[in-house]
């Protein structure tokens, strides 16, 4: 059985940041990712990030991804790509699928940074080719440079829907409309404004009724909704589209944390079931840490700070950071995290994150 001091599962922003901090402190770190390239969703985030200078604001996600990769390599992180963690077993043992075989890897500390998956929305025709997650379209256009369609309907006006709508325009597609079933736009107004200036209507209190087509999407039918989110008959409109993207929220991808036996709590603001953790991101199980979207849907900037926090805490636990130094560094990161969770878009998340820590104390 292979051994390492710290195994980090998932090489997205949270996992990379965790691995970098822990390795810089001197720990032996193995970072595992199922994809061919590290970076998680960072390499498809081609927009400039918000935040402050300390959060690398004004820099595009794709560049932050490149920077983090270099930092991880410089810090001596062992990165294992094309490696699926298929299970988390007793004694901190990870089951790995590597090409044609499996291996076991045991770690003193495991940091789970498995991210999130896109929620689905069921409506007549939602299984037709051409209906896809907004993240799927984003992967195709920004990573693989393949355009999934020419005329797109975006469902959902949260940040993901707005950002991907804008990026589809940048890739050369037409976005026919963004529909949002709520009466308000959920994402940042500035993202909505960019899309509007580019000529794309954002229809609040509208939903998709059905997708139609023979062997793929040929048109979409949308309608206005009432206060209970039910389509109002007589308000249907046909849209001539070949692609429908769903941006209806994300859920933490928590299978490994469930399998390990971590305690969970249900917090709708954060995307549903999330593993409880303490101020250091440690779950109810000693030596198993969680970080990033897995601990509640936020954004890449917060994921990186949470990752750093978990990495520092893990290194401290293993004795690579003196308690005072560890505390000081962790306090700095917590402060940076706090500044990302203020204002009308962040307050709710700050409260919800507090609930997680409280649930951990009571666990």
């Amino acid at each position: 059985m292979g051994r390492t001091e710290i195994a980090v599962v998932g090489a997205g922003p949270a996992g990379l940041a965790a691995a970098i901090e822990a390795a810089r402190a001197g720990a032996q770190v193995t970072l595992i990712d199922e994809n061919e390239r590290p970076g998680g969703q960072l390499f498809k985030q081609i927009h400039k990030f918000f935040g402050s200078e300390a959060h690398r604001a004004g820099t595009r996600g794709v560049q932050i991804g490149r920077d983090l990769l270099k930092e991880a390599q410089d810090a001596g992180v062992e990165i294992r790509l094309n490696t699926v963690v298929y299970g988390l077993f007793a004694h901190h043992c990870l089951g790995l699928v590597c090409g044609d075989h499996t291996e076991d890897l045991q770690a003193e500390i495991i940091i789970l940074a498995t991210g999130a998956s896109e929620n689905a929305l069921a409506f007549p025709g939602w299984t037709l080719p051409g209906v896809m997650g907004a993240g799927a379209a984003q992967t195709l256009i920004n990573i693989h440079r393949a355009l999934p369609g020419y005329r797109v309907l975006m469902v959902g006006a949260g940040n993901v829907g707005l950002i991907v709508a804008y990026q589809l325009l940048q890739a050369g597609a037409e976005v026919v409309a963004v529909v949002e079933s709520l009466p308000c736009i959920g994402g940042y107004g500035v993202h909505a404004s960019k899309v509007r200036r580019a000529g794309v209507p954002i229809l609040t209190a509208h939903t998709i009724v059905r997708a139609e087509g023979e062997n793929g999407v040929e048109r979409a039918v949308i309608a206005q909704v009432d206060e209970n989110c039910q389509p109002i008959s007589g308000t249907e409109q046909n849209l001539d589209v070949d692609t429908i993207c769903l941006a209806v929220g994300l859920s933490p991808l928590a299978e490994l944390a469930w399998m390990a036996g971590c305690q969970f709590t249900y917090i709708p603001t954060l995307g549903g079931w999330v593993p409880v953790h303490d101020q250091d991101m440690q779950t109810s199980l000693t030596g198993i840490y969680v970080t990033g979207d897995l601990t509640g849907i936020e954004e890449a900037s917060t994921a990186m700070e949470e990752g750093r926090l978990a990495g520092l805490a893990a290194a401290e636990t293993l004795g690579y950071l003196a308690p005072e130094e560890g505390e000081r560094k962790k306090a700095q990161v917590r402060e940076l995290l706090a500044t990302l969770r203020i204002g009308s878009f962040g307050e709710g998340r700050a409260v919800a994150k507090g609930q997680i820590v409280k649930a951990r104390c009571e666990a």
Binding site: H47, K48, F49, F50, G51, S52, E53, A57, G58, T59, R60, Q63, A157, L169, Q170, G172, P183, C184, I185, Y188, G189, V190, H191, A192, S193, K194, V195, R196, R197, A198, G199, V200, I202, T204, T339, L340, R341, I342, G343, S344, F345, G346
Partner: protein, 169 residues
């Protein structure tokens, strides 16, 4: 609330005028300057850090709306491509007797060329006028965000905020 950025994606006149980054009509006619159309408390402050003249103040907490001091702005425009929300524009009411120059961030292909006449669009993406391209800036430091400056009728200086995208080749 009907209208406004949360329901339409377009900041309303009231929202803009209440924002501390939006210069007064009085200040605007004096000299070229930027116009900050940032009306929501997002944690973000790169505009403050990049301004060499201290014309933009965010302070703490960083969710505060940027406060703009027109008298300190020399219209260098560095904040325009940097703003992650693309919410900063340049307006020069002194450009000509009947025309104003408007600068905006632009991240689509193809780019227009200097001298081209493009269609100026408002915040809703509606074409409101023809606009002659005065300048297309895209130095490396802008990190792929072009800043395009167009001449528009003076009365549309606070309406035109982008141009209609040109067809892809």
């Amino acid at each position: 609330m009907k209208g406004g950025i949360r329901t339409t994606g377009i900041p309303s006149k009231e929202e803009l005028e209440a924002s501390p980054g939006y210069p007064s009509a009085k200040a605007l006619v004096t000299k070229p300057m930027v116009v900050i159309e940032c009306v929501q408390d997002i944690p973000c402050n790169p505009c403050e850090a990049i301004c060499p003249n201290g014309a933009i103040f965010v302070g703490h907490p960083i969710t505060q709306l940027p406060v703009f001091y027109p008298e300190r702005c020399d219209a260098c425009g560095r904040c325009i491509p940097l703003c992650p929300g693309q919410a900063i524009f340049g307006v020069d009411m002194t450009y000509a007797s009947d025309k104003a120059a408007v600068s905006f961030p632009y991240e689509f292909l193809p780019l227009p060329n200097k001298g081209d006449v493009v269609q100026g669009v408002n915040r809703a993406g509606e074409v409101v006028c023809d606009a002659k391209v005065l300048r297309v800036q895209r130095p490396k430091s802008f990190d792929h965000t072009a800043v395009i400056t167009v001449a528009v009728p003076k009365d549309l200086a606070m309406e035109v905020r982008s141009m209609r995208r040109l067809p892809r080749a």
